[in-house]
């Protein structure tokens, strides 16, 4: 295989795996921000909680990584409903600045609480042996866990896309994102719809948090550390679109990887420069509606 082709494959493949983490964690944020206009800076908390829940469930119940991941997703999804009911719902009609303050407050609280219960040390997770090592995909071999990540990410994107495009609930969500007063006028219960998507988005982020441990590690600071990254993916993709979030995650993931491989001295410069360029060009994001 030529040297050049090898480099290109490396960049695209590694970028893909990274992009999937970005996508899985950010997609819920995009939908909730698009649907409710709620600036939820605390979205990363669900991912962080999902990571800790995965590890705790594995050690407490003695079950494997994959079932624990699912349990964590469900548990955090349900728990997020409680938060939504008690803290978020009273603020839907309030100003965005109040929402900002509330969600930042939640991030702080989560950071302190997780430090108290799990300590400041990074947590690692025991991934099953079959996800270890390298897998030969014909052209060359790739790290198994990353192949798995890509598969999960694509499956999730497809699943979400089908349920949004092909089901009744999906149609209602789209209607509510496009024009909320009209959707309410034709009898769609937007609030209930929102609770559903909120729980779903949080649950998916929780799974993303669990999947990310092996690549990014996990500390009580996770929600703050990666907040900016998730926001950028959402803004670049455009609010309330799964396709946009997916494409944005892919673009940013792969470009970030290419930058780090080819020009590591550039540091984090690349991803932000690209984000700025895209937003200057399309302020509503790649797939956001311009109005």
């Amino acid at each position: 295989m030529s040297e050049f082709l090898n480099v290109v494959i490396s960049i695209v493949f590694d970028g893909l795996a990274y992009a999937m983490i970005l996508f899985i964690i950010s997609v819920g944020l995009s939908v909730t921000m698009g649907l409710m206009g709620f600036v939820n800076l605390a979205h990363g908390v669900f991912a962080m909680a999902g990571g800790y829940a995965t590890v705790a469930i594995m050690s407490q119940l003695g079950i494997g990584f994959l079932p624990a991941l699912l349990c964590a997703g469900v548990a955090i999804g349900v728990a997020s409903l409680v938060l939504e009911q008690t803290l978020y719902a009273p603020l839907y009609k309030a100003g965005e600045l109040d929402q900002l303050l509330l969600s930042i407050g939640l991030v702080f609280m989560a950071s302190g609480a997780f430090t108290y219960f799990f300590g400041p040390d990074p947590i690692s997770v025991q991934i099953p042996d079959y996800l270890h090592g390298q897998i030969d995909l014909g052209v060359r071999s790739f790290p198994t866990y990353r192949v798995f990540m890509i598969a999960v990410g694509i499956a999730m994107a497809l699943g979400l896309w089908i349920s949004l495009e092909r089901t009744l609930i999906g149609a209602r969500i789209r209607a509510a994102v496009d024009n909320r007063p009209m959707a309410e006028a034709v009898g769609i219960n937007v609030n209930r719809l929102f609770k559903l998507t909120f729980a779903l988005g949080s649950g998916i982020a929780a799974i993303g948090g669990g999947l990310a441990i092996d690549i990014l590690g996990l500390t009580p600071n996770f929600a703050i550390q990666y907040l900016v990254l998730f926001l950028i993916v959402v803004a670049v993709g455009g609010l309330g679109t799964i396709r946009g979030t997916f494409v944005a995650a892919l673009a940013l993931g792969i470009i970030d990887n290419a930058g780090k491989y080819l020009w590591p001295e550039g540091g984090a410069f690349f991803i932000y420069a690209v984000a700025i360029a895209i937003l200057l060009w399309r302020p509503s994001g790649l797939f956001g509606r311009t109005d």
């Binding site: 960049i11 390298q134 990014l216 500390t219 600071n221 780090k260």
Partner: protein, 401 residues
């Protein structure tokens, strides 16, 4: 520790039985550590090391008491630490200052320490020239040069590395460490083919693109520096995932990448790693065995001290030495005088405070990760005795003046 201060009251018992003519003093020590944020784990290790020493040796202070006043320095920005130090000096009137995880926090505080005449015992902050910023600074931790520089020579001579690439977290300790390695490696005759900055210390990046770049460049050795904490596990995993070992590349670095607290989570992939450092919990010396045993008894069997914890322990030993030698009445010049040339049998081995530079002199060991039963362990395969900071000793770069 939820409480603001931690007064050791055990000595109070002794006090009641002592004759009244000896004056009992309470020595106030300001502790500035990073207790929250990404580096909170480092603050916790040092804090635990410190408290363990007080618990084990508190009675050696005789009639004197020690009171710790703790402050969170939060970020590595210098300002929060500096304000904390200012208040500790002017309002709490501390006799000594200690802690300091991040170098900029120590550097920003240095002028205050000089002006307020308070001795400062640094327990981490490894930027080489820090002790020269104030005559009242003493350091018990390490400098990056102490590991990177000997590693360069060792890699060429003993690990058969003729060419090497380096990757480092993009901030001063990383740059220091790689500069030290480069100097040592090239002096021995090796060639450093690539040097890759790998993101900021704030968050763990996806290391894959950096490592892939090294894999494609095919050097004999890959020298990696990442800060103690979250990064190291990801380094070892990425190295294994990319099959770099099979590609004939050897992973080496300072001991930060085989930190005791992270070692077990790295799994089998870590076996065979060679690093250079001044401490591991697996050292077989009686001092260390007692230290690790006491640590596990105090903080739980599944915990382990690492080089941060031992810095907390040694730093507190230095402070005890000052208190005893000054009989509870701390005077800055006297305290620094007492610490110049101070020798101590630390869990890490014999240490000495260099009388000229007020910096640590210590044995540096070559670590190899081996499998021992069902756990990973550090095996010492070589020792370089009593290493002074090569940066200052050789007058290199910023240490020249």
């Amino acid at each position: 520790m939820k409480f603001r201060t931690y007064g050791y009251a055990g000595a109070l018992l002794a006090l009641s039985s002592l004759p009244a003519e000896t004056l009992a003093a309470t020595v106030r020590v300001g502790v500035v550590l990073t207790y929250t944020g990404g580096a909170a784990q480092l603050g916790q290790q040092i804090d635990r090391g410190m408290n363990l020493y007080i618990k084990q040796h508190g009675s050696e202070l005789g009639e004197h008491n020690i009171e710790l006043i703790k402050r969170d320095s939060k970020r590595p920005g210098g300002d929060i630490a500096k304000t904390a130090v200012q208040e500790l000096i002017t309002r709490d009137q501390v006799d000594l200052l200690t802690g300091f995880v991040f170098s900029p926090n120590a550097m920003a505080s240095a002028p205050l320490v000089t002006r307020g005449q308070v001795p400062m015992v640094i327990m981490n902050a490894g930027t080489a020239w820090i002790p020269s910023l104030s005559p009242y600074i003493v350091r018990v931790s390490f400098t990056m040069w102490q590991f990177g520089h000997p590693m360069g020579g060792y890699a060429y001579d003993s690990l058969d590395c003729k060419s090497a690439a380096s990757g480092y977290t993009d901030y001063p300790p990383g740059k220091d460490s790689v500069a030290a390695f480069k100097h040592g490696f090239e002096r021995a005759g090796g060639e450093l083919v690539d040097s890759i900055p790998m993101g900021s210390p704030r968050e763990v990046p996806d290391f894959t693109p950096f490592f892939q770049r090294v894999k494609d460049a095919k050097p004999d050795c890959f020298y990696v520096f990442v800060p103690g904490g979250n990064h190291s596990t990801a380094v070892v995993k990425t190295f294994a995932d990319l099959g770099m070992k099979q590609a004939g590349i050897r992973l080496i670095g300072p001991g930060d990448i085989t930190q005791d607290t992270k070692l077990q989570s790295m799994g089998e992939d870590a076996v065979g790693l060679v690093t250079m450092h001044h401490y591991s919990a697996d050292y077989e010396t009686p001092e260390n065995k007692a230290f690790v045993q006491a640590w596990k008894a105090e903080y739980g069997a599944d915990t382990t001290p690492d080089f941060m914890g031992v810095a907390g322990w040694d730093g507190m030993a230095a402070i005890f030495h000052v208190i005893r030698s000054q009989n509870g009445k701390i005077d800055a010049d006297g305290a620094i005088q007492a610490l110049r040339g101070w020798k101590f049998n630390s869990p890490r081995g014999p240490i000495l405070i260099d009388p000229d530079t007020r910096d640590i002199v210590q044995d540096v060991h070559i670590h190899k990760v081996v499998k021992s039963g069902d756990r990973l362990a550090i095996q010492v395969v070589g020792t370089i005795p009593q290493v002074k900071d090569p940066c200052k000793a050789l007058s290199l770069g910023k240490c020249a003046n």
